[in-house]
Subunit: 389 residues, 2 copies
């Protein structure tokens, strides 16, 4: 029996790569649901190719157009965020691939978790914003989260067969991005198109900028805290420019397990789909002799303040990671729009963390409020910065 | 309840390090049996410290002296190879640590396996000589082999939680030893004391020479074939001079798992004792930033012919690995005694492999015969070489 998949965010970077992987295994997987935010053209094409049971377009204004385009196909068409939350609960779904980008991915992920679904989680924000709540929900519902991010997939793989064994720490590796060796002055003048060129990984725009600014690694630290139930001081970041070792677990007996591979998101995606099994793959394989020496250097949180800000948010807890994330989403948009400089992204995040009201144990409702408040705060500060310059 | 241990070869390098590890965990392990070949002084000291139920000295001529030395202690004293085979079968034993060196370790290991004991196997020869037979015996008796060698322990650890998942290949790492960058001419003039200085690992003399000549890696390839049930072409050797990555498993989905740590034999020994659990350890921990870049180069089987000879023996099968091992034991002794040169060790092995009668499916009895025949053949050839020079 093929595994029945609901793919949320099918037109994004992770979404399209997930379909690429699924195409390589006819008979193993069956695409039951596809959802997208607004890319109606690609969603239509995907729906025709994969003929899922249902498709959902998040932006309701595209509903009629999508229905029209698919009228000759046996595919149910829905629209709106609530419809996305609904389809993931369907009894025809074995695995929900949560590949939506940003805050909007939170509610559908929660819906799937509440329904006790297995969930391949690519949406970072879910755990960054609401990690503590999610952890509780997973426990209650018997859901299971399989990470898709290469670093978390690596840790998850290294922990297989090690249930209950004591861990000293985990090490998340970071490529260091395109500006690893830039001085502060150089960083100040970085342009969006330069930040969009990642040396190793092919990813969406938001993640690529986060990767260049190390915010991506910061968000991953927060994610790891909840995925693996580890205190912040047991989560370490190390710069590994070759992106071959995807992350490591240091067990308390001195043994370290690492997961490695070519930097290709399709590999952790494949694992999240096939888990706990592994499938034979024709994707590029690692050749250690070809890839040269593997090096490791400590991260520089002076030049890359975002990483320090993320640790700070994690230690503060409550709604602070939500504030960090919201401010960063706004800051990245402003940077990509040419409104603020590369280093100013951290200023925006730091300012917003200081100014937005802190709350120690927010529920999901208050996190939604926090998200709005923080975005407004960040946007106001950006406007102020623009006026000044 | 402490785990009850029989330690065979307690006075050797692995034996003493095993006792070092055990001493660090009062209450976790109880030493029930200690055996040694002839080092009566150290065995006596160990017996007084650990107060096992029994001690056995392999060399019967030392029996009276050992009995006398331990007459005031509640320790049973035995002597001879058969006594060693007997004590490992005792109902008071949970785990047999097989740390005897060379051919003599084979029979006690088989005795433990036949009794269905869990066995921490440090004696390479057991699987090199009789891998196919051992594999069958383990299956029949319900015994379990936990490898102690750092490379095999690494593979074993990487395979935890991966039962049934398809493997493309495994990579055994090799430091390359002290002569990694030596030319043929330099290798020709290597002296025993130079070969006894290993850059990374502290081991017994025989293993250290094997490590310098790459025969150690060759024997490990043969061991791995039986431990992990992999065809020779799925076992790869790679030179990794830093000895930080102890070995790797390449899964068929493109994911590679590596086990890492400081090069300290006490770490894999600890794992073999605590398996499937891990214990918190105060042994030195890995610091990737301190240890610098990790590099990988292909092995050179022109300068280090032993590796090619071992693959050849493995592919031939039958009694050929036994011939290889016997010839190498004799060659290493002759090299250490200054009778033959470093490169001549491979000549001795190759000659013996050509001249000793091949047998495709030998039983244990015929392997014993092979061992004697090959030793005689190797010794005769060494005598000839000595005469010539």
């Amino acid at each position: 029996m093929p595994k029945k998949i609901a793919l949320l965010g099918s037109t994004g970077s992770i979404g399209t790569q997930t379909l690429d992987v699924i195409s390589r295994y006819p008979g193993e997987f069956s695409v039951e649901v596809l959802t997208a935010g607004s890319n109606i053209k690609l969603l239509t094409r995907q729906a025709i190719t994969y003929q899922p049971d249902s498709v959902v377009i998040g932006d309701q204004s595209h509903y009629q157009q999508l229905r029209e385009a698919l009228k000759d196909y046996p595919v149910k068409v829905y629209a709106g965020e609530e419809a996305i939350e609904q389809v993931v609960r369907g009894s025809n779904i074995d695995l929900v691939v949560a590949a939506m980008v940003g805050y909007s991915g939170l509610k559908p992920a929660i819906s799937a978790i509440r329904a006790g679904k297995k969930i391949a989680l690519a949406n970072k924000e879910t755990l960054v914003i609401a990690g503590e709540i999610i952890k509780k929900l997973v426990k209650e519902s018997g859901s299971k989260i399989i990470p898709v991010d290469s670093e978390h997939s690596a840790i998850f793989q290294c922990l297989a067969g090690e249930l209950g064994n004591p861990v000293d720490k985990i090490t998340l590796t970071a490529s260091g991005g395109p500006f690893l060796n830039y001085t502060m002055e150089m960083l100040e003048h970085v342009k969006p198109h330069e930040a969009l060129r990642h040396p190793n990984w092919e990813m969406g725009n938001k993640v690529t900028i986060d990767s260049a600014s190390m915010m991506n690694k910061g968000l991953e630290v927060i994610e790891a805290r909840w995925l693996f139930d580890l205190l912040p001081e047991k989560i370490e970041v190390i710069i590994h420019p070759q992106s071959i070792i995807h992350s490591m677990v240091h067990f308390a007996d001195g043994s370290v397990k690492a997961q490695m591979g070519v930097p290709d998101m399709r590999l952790p995606i494949l694992y999240s789909l096939s888990y706990p099994d592994r499938l034979v793959s024709d994707l590029p394989k690692l050749d250690l002799i070809q890839c040269g020496a593997l090096s490791f250097i400590p991260p520089d949180t002076k030049r890359f303040r975002n990483l320090a800000l993320a640790y700070h948010a994690l230690k503060e807890g409550g709604n602070m990671p939500c504030i960090l994330n919201a401010a960063n989403e706004v800051a990245v948009s402003a940077f990509l729009a040419g409104k603020i400089g590369f280093l100013q992204m951290s200023d925006v995040v730091e300012h917003t963390m200081e100014k937005t009201e802190y709350f120690a144990s927010p529920g999901l409702g208050y996190l939604e409020t926090t998200n709005s408040l923080a975005r407004t705060e960040a946007q106001n500060y950006i406007n102020e910065l623009c006026k000044r310059s």
